[in-house]
């Protein structure tokens, strides 16, 4: 995925308090979303800067969703699912763990600090923990300031490559597959 520069102006929050990072949380329906609901029904207050997206299972979360959130202006992303052994679909959270671990390494390699990407287990009983987690993430991200497209900075050649690809005539096959297509053509 190409990381475009976000043009979103990062201003102070409407009430004029300290800058609030925009946090996007992608939560599984059965545990973590229910945990967030429990924080609500227990009236546990937490920062209002979080926006929640509900998916059936953390295993549904394509790592690209996280990149897309950053691309579109999120300052931090939280992915949460059921604790190991509690997954409503038996093992979706294990796949999520593998994918998110790998994504985390990729993000770090690309220069996105680990404070911006969080992967946690939150059970349906962990309302207070969920509220606390949102506070923790907010505090960790605030000093970093708005997300800058660190990834795009790393890949300065990207535009050149795109231009090169676009300038190539469409009929010309790539060298690797040239032989194959010759064979295939009548």
């Amino acid at each position: 995925m190409i990381m475009a520069t976000s043009n979103k102006p990062k201003t102070e929050s409407p009430s004029g308090t300290a800058w609030q990072p925009r946090l996007v949380a992608i939560l599984c329906n059965w545990c973590s979303y229910a945990g967030a609901d429990l924080a609500g029904s227990s009236r546990i207050h937490y920062p209002s800067n979080v926006r929640i997206v509900r998916v059936p299972c953390s295993g549904r979360i394509d790592p690209l969703y996280v990149l897309r959130a950053f691309e579109r202006g999120a300052d931090a992303v939280l992915v949460a699912g059921c604790h190991p052994g509690d997954c409503h679909y038996a093992e979706g959270n294990f796949y999520a763990r593998r994918r998110m671990l790998m994504l985390n390494q990729l993000l770090q390699f690309a220069g996105v600090p680990s404070e911006r990407f969080w992967f946690r287990w939150v059970s349906a009983a962990e309302g207070p923990e969920f509220a606390h987690l949102i506070e923790e993430i907010t505090e960790a991200v605030r000093p970093l300031g708005p997300y800058k497209p660190e990834l795009a900075d790393k890949f300065v050649l990207l535009d050149e490559i795109v231009q090169m690809l676009e300038s190539m005539p469409e009929s010309e096959p790539c060298p690797e597959h040239a032989e194959e297509s010759e064979e295939a053509s009548p």
């Binding site: 979103k8 929050s13 409407p14 009430s15 925009r22 996007v24 992608i26 329906n29 979303y33 229910a34 967030a36 609901d37 924080a39 609500g40 029904s41 009236r43 546990i44 207050h45 937490y46 209002s48 926006r51 929640i52 997206v53 509900r54 998916v55 059936p56 299972c57 295993g59 549904r60 979360i61 394509d62 790592p63 969703y65 897309r68 959130a69 579109r72 202006g73 999120a74 409503h88 679909y89 038996a90 093992e91 979706g92 796949y95 994918r99 509220a131």
Partner: protein, 665 residues
């Protein structure tokens, strides 16, 4: 252009006191594609729902967003509401502005802004939602029960009594299970056979039950309401229909020294055998590993003895397939054989036995005819032996010991040991009984009183502590242990030592679980869909659990869980058809490369490889295909698919990304 309606709920003052609901509605009305937006005090109430239904009609709405509480609470309510007004229920999305906004934030302007964001993202999603339909699936009104112990018997009888046909599959030659090995049951001291055998006979005579003993489940295909079960009927070498169980055959069998499984290897059986006198069916089976004719091709004593020519040495295994709508797994547990503590020396001294072996010895149909003797002195010909005078019971021989045995409590040993102590004292009033225990666990109706009775009335000596070793001394056994209440070492000269060994998950159940795609825990016990709220179900729809395959259980619990599983089966199979959940995986075969990554990650084996033919080129290629009956809609495949051809209905990439994009702005 979509025509979306937005309905903002005040939830009394729950939402309205923090969120400016009229403003949220007003702003929503300006969003692209929103044709109507309003707010109301209680959207879930009758008038609130009428308001939505009316607006759908009046404004010709094609999708609806309800901004109110959590979808986990009222999604079904509003789905029904829009469905009643002629909209597809999956064209309704909820923005959770109560649990996620008004209840957790104080600042009114921040909360209102967040509520508007959530509404905006719900609008973005719902405008991309596709109408989804629940499909009607047929239901085969038959069930299979695997395991003919007390739990399986109860389940089969209850299902059959509801008028549904049941196939009861039992691995061993007779139904009856563990309970058939017991002499008396705690705490009422009912004779186990007296309460079990009538039920066994009922199984055999019930017209709705087809009994397949000496049979195993080989394969389970399909999904809820539509399973295909392949059953292996093992070669019995005896004609089940013609045999009357007269016993001429096993009386003549020359192989007489095979350790009997039914007698916990304390007594012998023949090569052609009936496990116990009340067996159902009352038909023997030939043990092909020990039969001289089947191993060496000569003998034939049983065939000569049989007055009805029931013996057929040419018998072969037979595979049959049955269509059923539901399955109950009631395969029970194993009893450990006394080997966990090597220092006790089980197997080296015949007077060191397990609780199950003592149970068989006490039983009148057991290897000693109900005489309690020291096995080392037993003379099978004279049918006599020396009675023990000092008996030591050792509890927790592997239970509650994560180091050497299992971490859990096997639950029944405290009670059956007390029962054994009582029965021994009844038969041998002068014998001394010692029971080494860690804690006494007697949590059942009448259980604690039973323990008190055994200790006070029957004078069993309860010694709190563990046994460190058992040393043969002469023809006796010296039991060395600690009495932790008195704080001293004790030595007891014993004639007979009985070990309370743990109840374990059956070793063969893992394989069965794999075939059925149901889960096992770290011990190998089968896992319920929810340990508290769905104890009879598995995560695979249409497969239910009963009895000791879930965890060590006593008889009343097994019967109750057999009944519970049966109730679930009857509920399922009494419907004319099932409705499939439309939130399932969708694979675009045109894009699918056939890499089958999705097949490997699917937790429900719901995706299979199929071969399709390209309509233009007529080339055949392999692609992945979703079985909607099995798919539970987790979406793990959609996230794994490298070519983006797998998607999850109701949560497609397009829908989720639309939601994400609007939230990030």
């Amino acid at each position: 252009m979509p025509r979306t309606g937005v309905f903002v709920c005040h939830c009394g003052t729950n939402i309205a006191k923090v969120v400016d609901c009229p403003r949220v509605a007003e702003e929503a009305g300006k969003l692209p594609g929103v044709a109507f937006a309003t707010d109301y005090t209680y959207m879930c109430s009758g008038p609130g729902q009428d308001l939505i239904a009316q607006a759908i009609q009046e404004h010709n709405l094609d999708s609806v967003v309800v901004a109110s509480c959590s979808p986990r609470l009222h999604e079904p309510t509003f789905q029904r509401c829009v469905e009643g007004a002629g909209l597809n229920p999956y064209l309704m999305e909820m923005a959770n502005i109560r649990e996620q906004v008004s209840w957790v934030h104080e600042d009114k302007s921040e909360a209102t802004e967040k509520a508007m964001d959530l509404v905006r993202s719900a609008v973005a999603k719902v405008q991309r939602n596709q109408p989804l339909t629940r499909k009607e699936l047929p239901v085969t009104k038959r069930a299979v029960v695997i395991g003919g112990g007390i739990a399986g018997i109860q389940a089969a009888l209850d299902i059959a009594d509801a008028g549904i046909e049941v196939i009861l599959v039992e691995k061993s030659p007779s139904i009856g299970g563990r309970m058939s090995q017991f002499d008396k049951t705690f705490p009422t001291l009912d004779c186990a056979a007296c309460i079990l055998t009538p039920k066994m006979v009922e199984v055999a005579s019930n017209p709705n039950i087809r009994l397949l003993t000496w049979s195993e489940v080989e394969k389970v295909d399909g999904f809820v309401g539509n399973f295909e079960v392949t059953i292996r009927k093992k070669a019995r070498y005896v004609d089940v229909d013609a045999c009357v169980g007269c016993g001429e055959c096993w009386a003549k069998c020359p192989v007489k020294t095979i350790p009997s499984e039914y007698d916990a290897e304390l007594g012998p059986r023949t090569a052609i055998y009936r496990p116990f006198p009340q067996a159902v069916p009352n038909v023997p089976v030939i043990d092909k590993e020990h039969c001289i004719y089947l191993t060496k091709g000569r003998c034939g004593a049983c065939a000569k003895a049989c007055p009805k020519q029931c013996i057929n040495y040419e018998d072969q295994d037979e595979l049959i397939t049955e269509q059923v709508g539901a399955l109950v797994v009631a395969t029970g547990f194993d009893v450990e054989g006394g080997k966990i503590y090597g220092e006790y020396g089980y197997g080296e001294h015949p007077d060191l036995i397990t609780g199950l072996q003592l149970e068989r010895m006490i039983n009148v149909s057991g290897p000693t005819g109900g005489h309690i003797v020291r096995p080392s002195t037993w003379d099978a010909k004279k049918q006599e032996g020396e009675e023990p005078r000092s008996i030591v019971f050792i509890q927790c021989c592997g239970s509650r010991d994560p180091e050497k045995g299992v971490a859990y409590c096997s639950k029944v040993c405290c009670m059956y040991t007390a029962k054994h102590a009582l029965l021994l004292k009844e038969k041998l009033p002068n014998a001394q009984v010692y029971i080494f225990y860690i804690d006494i666990r007697a949590g059942g109706k009448g259980y604690e009183e039973f323990i008190d009775r055994v200790r006070d009335e029957f004078q069993a000596n309860y010694v709190r502590g563990r046994v460190s070793e058992i040393v043969p001394e002469g023809d006796h056994l010296l039991v060395r242990g600690a009495d932790t209440l008195l704080g001293r070492q004790v030595e007891i000269d014993a004639d007979l030592v009985v070990l309370a060994t743990p109840l374990l998950a059956r070793t063969d159940v893992k394989e069965l679980a794999r075939k059925m795609n149901i889960q096992t825990d770290k011990y190998g016990f089968l896992t319920e869909a929810h340990p508290k709220l769905r104890p009879a179900e598995t995560l695979t729809d249409g497969i239910f659990l009963a009895g000791g395959c879930i965890f060590p259980r006593d008889i009343p619990e097994s019967v109750a869980s057999g009944g519970a599983a049966a109730a679930k089966v009857v509920d399922l199979l009494s419907r004319d058809h099932l409705l499939s959940e439309p939130v399932v995986s969708m694979i675009d075969v045109d894009l699918c490369q056939g890499c089958l990554t999705c097949v490997r990650v699917c937790p429900f084996n719901a995706i299979e490889e199929v071969e399709i033919e390209d309509p233009k080129t007529h080339e055949k290629r392999k692609v992945a295909q979703v079985n909607e009956g099995l798919c539970k809609g987790c979406g793990t495949c959609a996230a794994a698919c490298p070519s983006g051809c797998a998607n999850l209905a109701g949560f497609t990439d397009e829908e989720v990304l639309a939601e994400l994009d609007t939230l990030c702005l």
